[in-house]
């Protein structure tokens, strides 16, 4: 029986938008997978599962979803963000990333050009991070059921040391090292989403941090726990570790690097940079006396505080004028103020 073409045979490049049929399991989907994803991401697409050869020892395994709006923002996009976010989660466990998966939920009507830019960006981010995207999936949902595109990833990494990195290892005397200035990603997305006419364009800090994080371990620093700063910002990450570890942490506000443009944008909107999102920064709790040596291994890093005592599970911030206050989790996202 001769093959009967149910769909228009025009090549992918001439189709401007994602159609329901691109997720329908037929020829169009095949085309999309081969020309859009396989050509760029090099998955092992002959089977639904990738087969990995891993070094011996223990593995780290993580998953994450990405729903950022707008898809493109100064300094990154949803594709690079998906790679960086997944790689960073692995790195925080002390793992060198090996392979990622990527599942796309596409909204019917999404411009093919938009998808191509995102997939190109993912491919580039993966290459730069030295990690492969080995398997994936595509679904198309009706217009209105998704906001252009959602990406879900998973990642596998190989642990580079035997000691576990976890809050339970944090003890009094530990020093808190912050890998760089904070607040850029949140303000970059905010200004792109809301069309804020800020004087200077703030670029997201979105970046893979596994090189930096693993350099601490390889440099022989006594790292007890690491956490990348994402939603909720620096404050939320430190609070979560302090609570999980059951320790009191004191941070020094004047040691926390915030760029002038980020600080100005935060002042304008009434945001606290301590709670603004980042995508390329992390904190490390390191053994007493090793903070400065750790900071010296990371460009832009600073020792911002320390674990003062066991018990309590709370974080105190010493303000720039020297008074102390407790930091707490916010109930939701920060909303810009009136005046």
């Amino acid at each position: 029986m001769s093959e009967f073409a149910l769909s228009c045979p025009a090549p992918l490049e001439e189709r401007e938008r994602v159609l329901m049929a691109h997720g329908g399991g037929g020829r169009l989907m095949r085309e999309l997978i081969e020309r859009m994803f396989a050509a760029r991401l090099e998955p092992q697409h002959e089977t639904d599962s990738a087969v990995l050869a891993l070094p011996g020892g223990r593995l780290a395994f993580t998953t994450d979803s990405f729903v950022v709006r707008p898809l493109f923002f100064p300094g990154g996009d949803i594709g690079s963000l998906a790679v960086h976010g997944t790689v960073n989660d692995l790195a925080m466990a002390g793992a060198a990333p090996v392979a990622l998966s990527a599942a796309f939920i596409l909204e019917e009507g999404l411009e093919m050009e938009t998808l191509r830019r995102v997939v190109d960006s993912m491919a580039q981010a993966a290459r730069r991070a030295g990690v492969r995207i080995v398997t994936g999936d595509t679904k198309v949902v009706e217009r209105g059921s998704a906001d252009q595109m959602f990406i879900t990833t998973a990642g596998v990494g190989a642990l580079i040391q035997d000691e576990e990195l976890a809050p339970w290892r944090v003890t009094p005397g530990d020093e808190v090292v912050l890998s760089g200035d904070i607040g850029r990603h949140g303000m970059a997305v905010m200004s792109a989403r809301e069309g804020l006419a800020l004087e200077s364009e703030i670029l997201s800090d979105s970046a893979p941090v596994h090189g930096e994080a693993l350099s601490l371990l390889r440099g022989g620093i006594g790292v007890h726990c690491m956490r990348d700063l994402t939603r909720g910002g620096l404050a939320s990450a430190v609070i979560e570790i302090a609570r999980a570890a059951g320790v009191r942490v004191t941070l020094e506000e004047d040691r926390i690097p915030v760029r002038e443009d980020v600080r100005a944008a935060c002042e304008l909107l009434g945001f606290d940079p301590l709670y603004v999102a980042n995508e390329g920064r992390f904190i490390a709790f390191v053994a007493a006396g090793e903070g400065e040596r750790a900071a010296a291994l990371l460009p832009g890093a600073a020792v911002i505080g320390k674990v003062t005592e066991a018990g309590g599970g709370a974080v105190t911030l010493r303000s720039v004028i020297g008074a102390a206050r407790l930091l707490d989790l916010l109930s939701g996202e920060q909303l810009p103020r009136i005046c």
Binding site: L326, D328, P336
Partner: protein, 363 residues
Amino acid sequence: MRHLDEYRDAARARALAAEIARVMTRPWRIMEICGGQTHAILRFGIDQLLPPGLELVHGPGCPVCVTPLERIDRAIALAETPGAVLASFGDMLRVPGSGTDLLSARARGARVAMVYSPLDAVRLAEKEQDSQIVFFAVGFETTVPGVALAVREAQRRGLNNFSILSAHVLVPPALRAILGSPQNRIQGVLAAGHVCTVEGYADYEPIARQFGAPVVVTGFEPVDLLQGILLCVRQLEEGRAEVENQYSRAVRREGNPAAKTMVREMFEPVDRPWRGIGVIPLSGLALRPAWREFDAEARFPYSGREAREPAECISGLVLQGAKKPPECPAFGTRCTPERPLGAPMVSSEGACAAYYRYGRHHV
């Protein structure tokens, strides 16, 4: 923003705090009017630097907090009106009305747009000509000129789908009501610097005289606040009750005459209820009849039920400086930012939110 550093200088802050302690001979109670000042005091821990006996109480200067339930219910009803979009500043969205809040209404399908300036709402009206865009005009004297400009701009562009729901309120009538109340405990006042950039401070002079309370126009940074407190304490110690201007880098006695003229041409004072406090005569601003076509109240009929506050919420006492947030039995337990009973727990300028956010519910 580099200039901010000099107003956050630890050495200057400590020197000012020491000077306040030196001139003080007895306890004083001072109210900072503005919620932005309340947040700065708690965020930087300024109260911890002050000598014992100097009590700071928090005033009504949180526009979101004092916006009456009826206005919020009305805004929600507008957002639920087919064909209408309610445009609002972000920190109004979580404030509870008598039944729900704007964010929850949006989750159920009401059309609510978050904007950053009134002009954003005019641009939205130009873009969405098939929708009626209503801007929820909330704020003190500071924000009114921006709204007046937006209405003029809508008129200039010939937009007949733009209107405002005015919840604007004025500081001096509220200050008069607080100082004149039989329960008043306030001896000196820090007036809100930003508000005075527009209206100046001549209106405070008769108030200071009448109630024998010094008024110091004060900025928002730690050094500003400590200087304002020092000026206020000096007056109290010397038995003076004058208006002084700490915030002279931004405020002149006459304010901004061009902005004032524009506001007076478009708005007139009206009696307005303040949430938790009650009606304060001539404390609100409404569009004058000549601008009626831009008034959402004239454009959209509303027959709301009478709105009632949760009985347990003491926000009225908090807003008048009669009680502090931790004195409320519900504070941090039955009233949290996640499940607020009243507006001061959710607004970014609310006193209850400041106490909660800056960790004062633990101590």
